[in-house]
Amino acid sequence: MLHTVNKSSFERNSLKSCLNAIDDTSVILLIEDGVISAANNENSSMLAGLATEGRVFALQEDVDARGISSKVADNIKLVDYAGFVDLVEEYGTTVSWV
Protein backbone atom coordinates (compact mmCIF):
# COMPACT_ATOMS: atom_id res chain seq x y z
CA MET A 1 0.00 0.00 0.00
CA LEU A 2 0.90 3.61 -0.50
CA HIS A 3 0.22 5.93 2.44
CA THR A 4 0.07 9.65 1.71
CA VAL A 5 0.49 12.11 4.59
CA ASN A 6 -0.38 15.76 3.91
CA LYS A 7 0.04 17.40 7.34
CA SER A 8 3.15 18.41 9.23
CA SER A 9 3.87 16.29 12.30
CA PHE A 10 4.00 19.60 14.21
CA GLU A 11 0.38 20.25 13.28
CA ARG A 12 -1.45 16.93 13.50
CA ASN A 13 -0.90 13.32 14.48
CA SER A 14 -1.60 11.87 11.03
CA LEU A 15 2.02 10.79 10.44
CA LYS A 16 2.07 9.08 13.82
CA SER A 17 -1.24 7.34 13.08
CA CYS A 18 0.12 6.24 9.72
CA LEU A 19 3.28 4.85 11.32
CA ASN A 20 1.15 2.92 13.83
CA ALA A 21 -0.81 1.29 11.00
CA ILE A 22 1.77 0.72 8.27
CA ASP A 23 2.87 -2.84 7.44
CA ASP A 24 6.30 -4.09 6.36
CA THR A 25 5.75 -3.76 2.62
CA SER A 26 4.08 -0.34 2.40
CA VAL A 27 5.64 3.02 1.69
CA ILE A 28 4.91 6.62 2.72
CA LEU A 29 4.67 9.61 0.40
CA LEU A 30 4.80 13.01 2.08
CA ILE A 31 2.80 15.67 0.21
CA GLU A 32 1.62 19.24 0.86
CA ASP A 33 2.52 20.25 4.46
CA GLY A 34 3.45 16.61 5.09
CA VAL A 35 6.84 17.36 3.50
CA ILE A 36 7.79 19.29 6.66
CA SER A 37 8.39 15.82 8.14
CA ALA A 38 10.99 15.21 5.42
CA ALA A 39 13.21 18.00 6.76
CA ASN A 40 15.81 17.50 9.44
CA ASN A 41 14.10 18.66 12.64
CA GLU A 42 13.24 17.42 16.11
CA ASN A 43 10.68 14.96 14.67
CA SER A 44 13.07 13.42 12.12
CA SER A 45 13.59 10.28 14.16
CA MET A 46 9.99 9.26 13.41
CA LEU A 47 10.85 8.43 9.82
CA ALA A 48 14.55 7.57 10.05
CA GLY A 49 14.10 3.79 10.20
CA LEU A 50 11.67 3.57 7.27
CA ALA A 51 13.78 6.02 5.27
CA THR A 52 16.85 3.80 5.70
CA GLU A 53 14.78 1.00 4.17
CA GLY A 54 14.00 3.28 1.21
CA ARG A 55 10.31 3.45 2.03
CA VAL A 56 9.83 7.20 2.48
CA PHE A 57 9.18 9.55 -0.43
CA ALA A 58 8.45 13.28 -0.54
CA LEU A 59 6.89 15.35 -3.32
CA GLN A 60 9.63 17.53 -4.82
CA GLU A 61 7.30 20.42 -5.81
CA ASP A 62 5.96 20.72 -2.24
CA VAL A 63 9.48 20.50 -0.76
CA ASP A 64 10.63 23.30 -3.09
CA ALA A 65 7.54 25.43 -2.40
CA ARG A 66 8.35 25.37 1.32
CA GLY A 67 12.04 26.20 0.85
CA ILE A 68 13.35 23.09 2.60
CA SER A 69 15.16 21.42 -0.33
CA SER A 70 18.54 21.74 1.42
CA LYS A 71 17.18 20.30 4.68
CA VAL A 72 15.71 17.01 3.42
CA ALA A 73 16.84 14.16 5.69
CA ASP A 74 19.09 11.38 4.44
CA ASN A 75 17.50 8.51 2.52
CA ILE A 76 14.22 10.29 1.82
CA LYS A 77 13.56 10.00 -1.90
CA LEU A 78 12.17 12.96 -3.81
CA VAL A 79 9.59 12.34 -6.56
CA ASP A 80 7.69 14.66 -8.91
CA TYR A 81 3.97 14.29 -9.80
CA ALA A 82 4.86 11.66 -12.42
CA GLY A 83 6.68 9.79 -9.66
CA PHE A 84 3.57 10.12 -7.48
CA VAL A 85 1.54 8.45 -10.24
CA ASP A 86 4.14 5.66 -10.48
CA LEU A 87 3.91 5.04 -6.71
CA VAL A 88 0.10 4.82 -6.94
CA GLU A 89 0.48 2.30 -9.76
CA GLU A 90 3.19 0.24 -8.05
CA TYR A 91 1.84 -0.01 -4.51
CA GLY A 92 -1.85 -0.79 -5.09
CA THR A 93 -4.33 0.68 -2.64
CA THR A 94 -3.63 4.27 -1.63
CA VAL A 95 -4.49 5.37 1.91
CA SER A 96 -4.73 9.14 2.40
CA TRP A 97 -4.02 10.24 5.98
CA VAL A 98 -5.69 13.64 6.14
Binding site: E61, A82, F84, V85, V88, E89, T94, S96, V98
Partner: protein, 133 residues
Amino acid sequence: MKISIQINEGPYQHQASDTAYQFAKAAIAKGHEIFRVFFYHDGVDNASRFTIPPQDDRNVVNNWASLDIKNAEGEPELVVCVAAALRRGMLDEGEAGKNGIDGNNIHPAFRISGLGQLIEAGIQSDRLVVFGD
Protein backbone atom coordinates in the same frame (compact mmCIF):
# COMPACT_ATOMS: atom_id res chain seq x y z
CA MET B 1 -4.50 1.92 -15.61
CA LYS B 2 -7.90 3.35 -14.60
CA ILE B 3 -7.57 5.89 -11.81
CA SER B 4 -10.33 7.76 -9.98
CA ILE B 5 -9.91 10.73 -7.67
CA GLN B 6 -11.95 12.00 -4.72
CA ILE B 7 -11.60 15.65 -3.66
CA ASN B 8 -13.00 16.81 -0.34
CA GLU B 9 -11.88 20.45 -0.26
CA GLY B 10 -12.76 23.58 -2.18
CA PRO B 11 -10.40 25.67 -4.35
CA TYR B 12 -8.05 28.34 -2.93
CA GLN B 13 -8.73 27.35 0.70
CA HIS B 14 -6.63 24.19 0.74
CA GLN B 15 -4.03 22.62 -1.53
CA ALA B 16 -6.05 19.41 -2.08
CA SER B 17 -7.64 20.42 -5.38
CA ASP B 18 -4.34 21.76 -6.77
CA THR B 19 -2.47 18.60 -5.81
CA ALA B 20 -5.22 16.43 -7.28
CA TYR B 21 -5.18 18.43 -10.54
CA GLN B 22 -1.39 18.11 -10.90
CA PHE B 23 -1.69 14.40 -10.11
CA ALA B 24 -4.46 13.92 -12.70
CA LYS B 25 -2.48 15.82 -15.33
CA ALA B 26 0.62 13.70 -14.67
CA ALA B 27 -1.44 10.49 -14.81
CA ILE B 28 -2.98 11.46 -18.17
CA ALA B 29 0.48 12.41 -19.50
CA LYS B 30 1.67 8.92 -18.57
CA GLY B 31 -1.17 7.36 -20.58
CA HIS B 32 -3.42 6.41 -17.66
CA GLU B 33 -7.17 6.93 -17.83
CA ILE B 34 -8.88 9.17 -15.27
CA PHE B 35 -12.15 7.25 -14.95
CA ARG B 36 -13.87 9.80 -12.71
CA VAL B 37 -13.15 12.72 -10.39
CA PHE B 38 -15.66 12.87 -7.54
CA PHE B 39 -16.10 16.19 -5.74
CA TYR B 40 -17.42 15.64 -2.23
CA HIS B 41 -18.04 17.83 0.84
CA ASP B 42 -16.53 21.34 0.27
CA GLY B 43 -14.95 19.88 -2.89
CA VAL B 44 -18.19 20.71 -4.74
CA ASP B 45 -17.08 24.37 -4.83
CA ASN B 46 -14.51 23.39 -7.47
CA ALA B 47 -17.41 23.20 -9.95
CA SER B 48 -18.62 26.81 -9.82
CA ARG B 49 -18.66 28.53 -13.22
CA PHE B 50 -18.91 31.88 -11.40
CA THR B 51 -15.34 31.83 -9.99
CA ILE B 52 -13.21 34.77 -11.11
CA PRO B 53 -9.68 34.53 -9.67
CA PRO B 54 -7.21 37.39 -10.28
CA GLN B 55 -5.60 37.23 -13.75
CA ASP B 56 -2.16 36.33 -12.39
CA ASP B 57 -3.53 33.44 -10.34
CA ARG B 58 -4.36 29.93 -11.50
CA ASN B 59 -7.99 29.23 -12.38
CA VAL B 60 -8.74 26.02 -10.51
CA VAL B 61 -12.20 25.50 -12.04
CA ASN B 62 -10.98 26.04 -15.60
CA ASN B 63 -7.95 23.83 -14.93
CA TRP B 64 -10.28 20.95 -14.10
CA ALA B 65 -12.52 21.75 -17.06
CA SER B 66 -9.50 21.79 -19.40
CA LEU B 67 -8.73 18.15 -18.60
CA ASP B 68 -11.96 17.36 -20.48
CA ILE B 69 -12.61 14.12 -18.59
CA LYS B 70 -15.59 12.42 -20.24
CA ASN B 71 -16.97 8.90 -20.58
CA ALA B 72 -17.69 7.00 -23.81
CA GLU B 73 -21.15 8.63 -23.98
CA GLY B 74 -19.57 12.08 -23.88
CA GLU B 75 -20.85 12.90 -20.37
CA PRO B 76 -18.48 14.74 -18.03
CA GLU B 77 -16.77 12.50 -15.48
CA LEU B 78 -16.08 15.45 -13.17
CA VAL B 79 -18.91 14.48 -10.82
CA VAL B 80 -20.27 16.67 -8.04
CA CYS B 81 -22.07 15.07 -5.07
CA VAL B 82 -25.70 16.20 -5.21
CA ALA B 83 -26.37 16.38 -1.46
CA ALA B 84 -23.11 18.25 -0.77
CA ALA B 85 -23.82 20.59 -3.71
CA LEU B 86 -27.41 21.49 -2.80
CA ARG B 87 -26.39 22.27 0.78
CA ARG B 88 -23.79 24.72 -0.51
CA GLY B 89 -25.91 26.42 -3.16
CA MET B 90 -24.28 24.63 -6.09
CA LEU B 91 -27.01 23.92 -8.65
CA ASP B 92 -27.26 22.78 -12.24
CA GLU B 93 -30.26 23.65 -14.42
CA GLY B 94 -32.18 20.54 -13.41
CA GLU B 95 -31.74 21.00 -9.67
CA ALA B 96 -32.53 24.73 -9.91
CA GLY B 97 -35.76 23.92 -11.74
CA LYS B 98 -36.75 21.19 -9.29
CA ASN B 99 -36.18 23.49 -6.34
CA GLY B 100 -37.70 26.63 -7.85
CA ILE B 101 -34.48 28.64 -7.90
CA ASP B 102 -33.86 31.13 -10.71
CA GLY B 103 -30.22 30.42 -11.45
CA ASN B 104 -27.57 27.75 -11.73
CA ASN B 105 -23.81 27.77 -11.36
CA ILE B 106 -22.35 24.36 -12.22
CA HIS B 107 -19.67 24.62 -14.93
CA PRO B 108 -20.68 22.62 -18.03
CA ALA B 109 -17.57 20.42 -17.75
CA PHE B 110 -19.02 19.03 -14.49
CA ARG B 111 -22.23 17.16 -13.71
CA ILE B 112 -24.22 16.61 -10.50
CA SER B 113 -24.91 13.06 -9.41
CA GLY B 114 -25.19 10.85 -6.35
CA LEU B 115 -22.81 9.16 -3.95
CA GLY B 116 -23.30 5.87 -5.82
CA GLN B 117 -21.00 7.36 -8.46
CA LEU B 118 -18.15 7.39 -5.93
CA ILE B 119 -18.76 3.75 -5.01
CA GLU B 120 -18.94 2.81 -8.69
CA ALA B 121 -15.68 4.66 -9.35
CA GLY B 122 -14.06 2.63 -6.56
CA ILE B 123 -15.30 -0.60 -8.10
CA GLN B 124 -14.56 0.22 -11.75
CA SER B 125 -11.12 1.78 -11.26
CA ASP B 126 -7.79 0.13 -10.50
CA ARG B 127 -7.00 2.90 -8.03
CA LEU B 128 -8.94 5.51 -6.04
CA VAL B 129 -6.87 8.34 -4.62
CA VAL B 130 -8.34 10.73 -2.03
CA PHE B 131 -7.26 14.35 -1.61
CA GLY B 132 -8.52 16.30 1.38
CA ASP B 133 -7.68 18.27 4.45
